[in-house]
Symmetry: C2
DNA sequence: GCTCACAATTGAACATGTTCAAATTAACTG
DNA sequence: CAGTTAATTTGAACATGTTCAATTGTGAGC
């Protein structure tokens, strides 16, 4: 799907310059307001050329998404190297998500809806976004595994995927957040990360064993059925 | 938002005929494949006329959504009148959702993404969809209140809204469900409704009191902040 | 029945995502 | 360096959602 990799020096520059123009314009004007013609103009390239490297406008969004992920991964490196407490790691990671995305808040609505569209091959569960999805899930695996908390293996197995979903939920909330400085989202992050860590520790209680087993096997079966 | 109510006999017929054409075509060909021109053609009306009654193609989707809700509400009436067991009521209601929507499965992806778009005024949390949202939440309130289960009032207060969200989650899963007869979704419904009922009853355990309070106050604060 | 304000209707025009066949340029081979 | 192949670039053409000024129909008040 990541069609038409450049085969030439010139091609590489073109691709890069188009992508940069798109990222800039998305940020300046938002997604809908940015036309493919405007992107081509700013990149000093013809309309057709843009389509040579990016099969659709949506594919540029996917690149945008990747861009923010890279920023995010970079931003939390120190935290993950330093802190061993699961709650702190999770909280820091989530805070970094929205801090990283803050410059794009105005655009994020369109981005999100484009990516969430089940009809699009770019949707988060589809094949086209698998590479990026795997990276994000791996990042959460590191958040979990690098902590000193001892997490039961059945939970640890599913947790990264669940946290990836959780991140999407937080982002969706953040998109709607009209509070000054998006402080509301930060509060929600603090509350929910605490809650998650607490629930994980509670999951060992005998009364919760049954539900825990059900939840995990449900998640597992869902993941498996999607994989096929 | 529901712009331009017909003021005339002729106007009413036109609106109805356009809507019917749209619903039919959405079902026959899917959302994207149905052009506004095709709708106008089938309705034997000009392109401009369609826009007189429906400000955009998305608004036709909202009508589509309302249509399925009405079907659903009708379908579960007997169940809600008969059965008093919460698990049964919830399970039946959810099963009816996907049975009702089954004819539209092919279209549902586009519908969902259109409606989920945070940038659209039609998104489920926005003002334009409030009337319908209120109806759906009220329906889940009836599911809960009509049961014989004694549900703590703090939970009962939030539950209908939570179930509305849950329904959207199930629909999202169902859209991706490729299993024959969408049996996978039915299984997931059975599992999750059981789980929900069980968790509600567990919520009275002393160890869970803290988490329960946190979850509910979090939900409440989110709802309140959205309302303003 | 006449008139007039307003509703309803129309279709051309516009903006924008996308496609494609043709032209141009780069890279490689002998 | 000449020639050939493949990558790149181009801009015109297309489809479709949307807008709007102009036209036509309708019904209320006299």
């Amino acid at each position: 799907m990541a069609i038409a990799a450049p085969k030439t020096r010139r091609g590489e520059t073109s691709r890069a310059v188009i992508l940069q123009a798109a990222l800039d314009l998305f940020q300046e004007r938002g997604y809908e307001a940015t036309t493919m013609r405007a992107i081509a103009d700013r990149a000093a390239v013809s309309l057709g050329s843009s389509y040579h490297y990016f099969p659709s406008k949506e594919h540029l969004v996917l690149e945008f998404y990747r861009h923010t992920h890279d920023l995010h991964a970079e931003a939390i490196k120190p935290l993950l190297a330093r802190d061993r407490d699961l709650a702190a790691r999770l909280r820091g990671t989530m805070r970094a998500v929205i801090v990283t995305c803050e410059p794009f808040h105005a655009v994020a609505g369109s981005i999100f809806s484009t990516v969430a569209n089940p009809a699009s091959p770019l949707n988060p569960f589809g094949p086209a976004s698998k590479p990026l999805r795997d990276e994000v899930v791996a990042l959460y695996a590191e958040v979990v595994n690098g902590s000193e908390s001892r997490i039961p293996s059945d939970i640890a197995e599913m947790l990264p995927l669940a946290l990836w979903l959780y991140q999407m939920g937080i982002l969706y909330f953040w998109i709607f957040d009209k509070s000054p400085g998006r402080l509301r989202t930060l509060e929600v992050i603090d509350d929910t990360t605490d809650l998650i860590v607490r629930l994980i520790s509670l999951a060992n209680l005998p009364v919760l064993r049954g539900s825990r087993r059900r939840v995990l096997s449900l998640m597992k079966s869902i993941v498996d059925s999607q994989a096929s």
